[in-house]
């Protein structure tokens, strides 16, 4: 339900105003004459796709970037914000998407960092603790001053960040994608916190690309597209479709029609996981008894909030991480405990989650990158003939419609969408029996997303088994034949692609038909 707050009496005083902000990075114009008006005591959403310029704008506000043109006005007066220190002095506080906390230090230490209480030249630890507790009570944000930040939950970490901003006297609070890493429960708590702060007179801007949040929490929303302001509207009369249209500029096709599945049940499933347990880097259980099946010709999507064991599960199947117990079978063959090379040779392809760090070697050119999966096969007596690789690369680049690149182009000079196409080309050309696709459309523009979706569906129709991991529910529903929901390292339920966001969201946060925590074997 949208809540309407009354704008400040009469003169609608602006806590923060941005006029004509332009910020360039080289030839790229991240913000192009952007204007924003934040009324005092309102919650204002800043909406836009990835790359629309939202974060850059807020960096300017917080003094992390200097605008090339434009003015910032706080409480009606023009100010120069040359550094975060200036921003804090003007009462602007920011909570970043990737938390700006020191994991090895305690909550209290993190909170007072930069404005530490001192006693006789030394750090006054007791005073820091006291201050933390006072703030915690005043704003109703529960935190433990002595806990190490690395050990507390994501929601709690965010609270520390918010408290710190408030401690420095923030009257304007900027939050960058605050719910990206929160569970539904934590998101609800955050919404309450924001409403409480608003009641206390704090003005809030939060950046998001999630339409439902905007309608839920914000009073007004400003939409950015490709660095320009599209418009500012009240959320009272708006709906998701109209917001989406403003964001993207056209009617967004949320689904691609797909043909019904063509699965051969007489064969063994391509991938079988049997009560697999995997521990994370700290020795804690990340995958806690997962069993699932993927058959040739189907796409099985694993939906879940980031950090519930997906990365570890993918790593285990691909051979990048040890399995502490359980079995993984590929076409009946036990491949538990394989190393990555053996997994590939056995027939597993892996479109990695982070194409820049894991999928590609950016310093290699395209033909070398494309060769990463099968350079061994192209070699004779340990020697590689570049001509062979180049020819193959040329063929693949054309087949997968990779633009702005020839075999000799370094991978770093391609756009994100084209880079992803290269990764996909490489993985698919190795003709794997099982294709793992981890966040395959993260950070891509709409055109590239469409391409990836069409390709995955084509592979499915051609009989490949695909295991998809995605945070985007629309993508999951669009592509999957079956949806498995993962929560705290277990598959807590299976839903058909016709399931609603509510059903999925509920199961993803531990509730749902299976009663939370119980395992469902697909």
């Amino acid at each position: 339900m949208t809540e309407q707050s009354s704008p400040s009496a009469g003169a609608a005083e602006l806590a923060l105003e941005l006029r004509g902000i332009t910020k360039r990075f080289g030839a790229v114009v991240a913000n192009d004459g952007v204007s924003l008006q934040l009324r005092r005591g309102e919650i204002h959403a800043l909406l836009g796709e990835n790359g629309a310029g939202k974060s850059t704008l807020m960096s300017v506000v917080y003094g992390m970037a200097a605008p090339d043109e434009g003015q910032i006005l706080i409480d009606g007066a023009p100010v120069t914000v040359a550094s975060p220190k200036d921003a804090m002095a003007h009462g602007v506080g920011m909570v970043f998407q990737h938390f700006m906390l020191i994991p090895v230090m305690t909550v209290a230490e993190n909170l007072v960092l930069g404005a530490e209480p001192r006693k006789g030249g030394l750090l006054d630890v007791a005073a820091a603790r006291r201050r933390t507790r006072e703030l915690s009570e005043r704003y109703g944000l529960r935190v433990d001053p002595d806990a190490r930040v690395a050990d507390i939950s994501v929601g709690q970490q965010q609270r520390v960040e918010i408290l710190r901003a408030l401690d420095r006297g923030a009257r304007i609070l900027v939050l960058d994608e605050p719910t990206a890493v929160l569970t539904a429960q934590e998101t609800a708590e955050l919404t309450e916190v924001l409403r409480g702060l608003r009641a206390g007179g704090t003005s809030i801007v939060f950046i998001t690309h999630k339409l439902n949040e905007v309608l839920d929490v914000a009073d007004r929303v400003t939409v950015l597209r490709r660095g320009k302001t599209v418009g500012t509207i009240d959320t009272a009369g708006a709906d998701e479709a109209s917001l989406a249209r403003m964001m993207v500029g056209r009617d967004v096709v949320l689904r691609i029609d797909k043909a019904p599945g063509n699965i051969d049940r007489s064969q063994a499933p391509t991938l079988e996981l049997d009560d697999v347990h995997v521990v994370d880097d700290r020795g804690l259980p990340a995958v806690d008894g997962v069993s699932l099946e993927v058959r040739a010709g189907e796409i099985v999507a694993v939906a879940g909030i980031d950090g519930n064991g997906q990365s570890q599960l993918i790593d285990a199947i691909a051979g990048l991480r040890a399995v502490s117990s359980g079995h993984i079978r590929l076409r009946g063959r036990d491949i538990t405990g394989c190393n990555p090379l053996e997994a590939r040779d056995a027939g597993i392809g892996h479109i990695a989650e982070d194409r820049q760090h894991r999928g590609l070697v950016l310093d290699f050119n395209l033909s070398e990158n494309l060769a990463l999966s099968d350079y061994r096969r192209a070699a004779r007596f340990g020697l590689i003939k570049p001509g062979v690789l180049v020819a193959r690369a040329r063929r693949l680049l054309e087949e997968f419609d990779v633009r702005d690149g020839s075999p000799g182009t370094p991978a770093s000079s391609l756009s994100g969408g084209n880079q992803q196409k290269v990764v996909i080309a490489r993985e698919i050309s190795a003709e794997p029996d099982l294709l793992i696709a981890a966040q395959p459309t993260r950070g891509l523009d709409v055109g590239a997303i469409e391409f990836v979706h069409r390709r995955l569906l084509a592979e499915r129709d051609a009989g490949r088994a695909i295991l998809l991991f995605s945070l985007e529910l629309d993508e999951v529903r669009s592509l999957a034949d079956r949806i498995l929901v993962i929560y705290e390292g277990r598959i807590v339920g299976e839903l058909p692609p016709t399931a609603t966001n509510e059903e999925l969201g509920l199961m993803m946060t531990g509730g749902g038909a299976a009663g939370g925590g119980a395992r469902t074997v697909a």
Binding site: N339, L444, D445
Partner: protein, 413 residues
């Protein structure tokens, strides 16, 4: 779980993915071409000249005197007569010094390509020399070719094992190879002292008062093809070194192992994801590098030294010069050869034999070489500066399309 500070690097672990040593140096190569190395050399010599000037000597006279000792004038057609003869002898010396420098430079270069910093060239060279002098001074009756090949093979193996220790430690425990190879340098040094000191196990049988090894038997000495063997003419080792450079190029650019090394050097994570065994690559690369440095040791022993004294081990700085050679040569085969020639000339020109003490004290000159060597490495490492100077305004900077909120928009190299 979600607090993600930038990927940590440092002594105990691997490099952050987007800024490995190999990555930055390759950026350097592509954008700088030949100009950047030349600029680096000029700058280093300039600063060296400043040091000379400030301490009351004449840099021009100094550099001229050094140049005269290098023998490079022989390459100029206008040098004739007695000058030419003397230049020839000097050039032979220079090339004798260039030979092991090429090999040790390659030993450092290959490691850099794989993202490793091999400072252990000195220790690997020493171990190779020790084994070479031992095998070379034994087996007096063996036929020449067999003896030479056996000596070089065992020296290469010794160097490979020596470096392999560091590679294994890096692969298995993540121990930073900078520190382990430096430690291995000192261990090799003390091992050498132990072996050749008075009453040491490998000390000379006929000269009990000198801490020196036995002499290499004549059947194991490398053939001299230019100049007078009595005056330390140039031996065929130079061809072996050049051949090694060719092998290096083939290895790096045309072989599966070289491909893996480069992938690991640029992005170990992506390499791992594509099935490359990163740990094994580290061990193989270090082993190869150690082998090259060990081979260099045997070249010197069989080519002109013929024995090894504890003083030789102490004074030798070849392994360290190799670092400057590799970096100046941008870790390429051709670059390494050229850089090795430069430093070989520099060391020869500043040697006691060739530098006129009246103009400039050779000991001072030796230290000057070290300063220049350090400056070369320093300026190469300031790639950002040079690259920035050379490419300002010429290239489009692209913002990554992965616009995650809060991500830094970085200049892509």
């Amino acid at each position: 779980m979600s607090v993600t500070p930038p990927a940590g690097g440092g002594p105990e672990g691997g490099a952050a993915p987007s800024s490995t040593v190999a990555s930055r140096l390759s950026t350097n190569l592509k954008l700088g071409g030949i100009i950047a190395p030349l600029l680096t050399v000029v700058l280093a010599f300039f600063v060296g000249g400043l040091v000379v000037l400030i301490t009351g000597h004449n840099p021009f006279d100094t550099y001229k005197a050094i140049f005269e000792g290098t023998g490079l004038q022989w390459l100029f057609p206008w040098t004739t007569g007695a000058d030419r003869t003397r230049a020839a002898i000097n050039l032979q010396q220079t090339l004798i010094l260039t030979t092991p420098l090429i090999l040790v430079g390659l030993a450092v270069a290959y490691a850099f390509r794989a993202g490793l910093f091999n400072i252990g060239g000195q220790g690997q060279y020493a171990v190779g020399a020790i084994v070479a002098v031992w095998v070379g001074s034994s087996f007096a009756g063996m036929p020449h070719l067999l003896h030479v090949v056996l000596t070089m093979a065992l020296a290469t193996l010794a160097g490979a094992v020596w470096a392999g220790i560091a590679g294994l430690l890096r692969a298995a425990t993540g121990a930073n190879e900078v520190i382990t190879t430096i430690m291995l340098n000192y261990i090799a040094l003390w091992l050498g002292f132990y072996l050749f000191q008075l009453h040491g196990p490998l000390q000379n049988d006929t000269q009990p008062d000198v801490p020196i090894s036995n002499d290499v038997v004549p059947s194991a000495k490398l053939h001299v093809f230019w100049g007078d063997p009595e005056l330390q003419g140039l031996h065929i080792g130079i061809f072996i070194a050049l051949a090694a450079a060719v092998v290096y190029w083939v290895l790096l650019n045309r072989s599966t192992k070289g491909y893996e090394a480069r992938a690991v050097g640029f992005n170990p994570e992506a390499a791992r994801y594509s099935g490359i065994k990163v740990g094994r690559t580290y061990v193989l690369v270090m082993g190869t590098c150690g082998g090259l440095a060990g081979l260099a040791g045997s070249m010197d022993i069989l080519g002109w030294q013929f024995h090894l004294a504890t003083n030789d081990l102490q004074a030798s700085t070849i392994g360290f010069l190799g670092i400057a050679v590799a970096l100046l040569g941008r870790n390429t085969a051709l670059g390494t050869c050229l850089a090795a020639l430069l430093f070989g000339a520099l060391v020869n020109g500043t040697s006691v034999r060739n530098l006129d003490p009246a103009v400039f004290d050779p000991e001072l000159a030796g230290n000057l070489t070290t300063i220049i060597q350090g400056l070369v490495i320093l300026f190469v490492s300031a790639d950002l500066l040079i690259v920035w100077l050379l490419t300002r305004g010429r290239r489009r900077r692209t913002a990554p399309a992965t616009g995650g909120a809060g991500e830094t928009i970085e200049v892509t190299a």
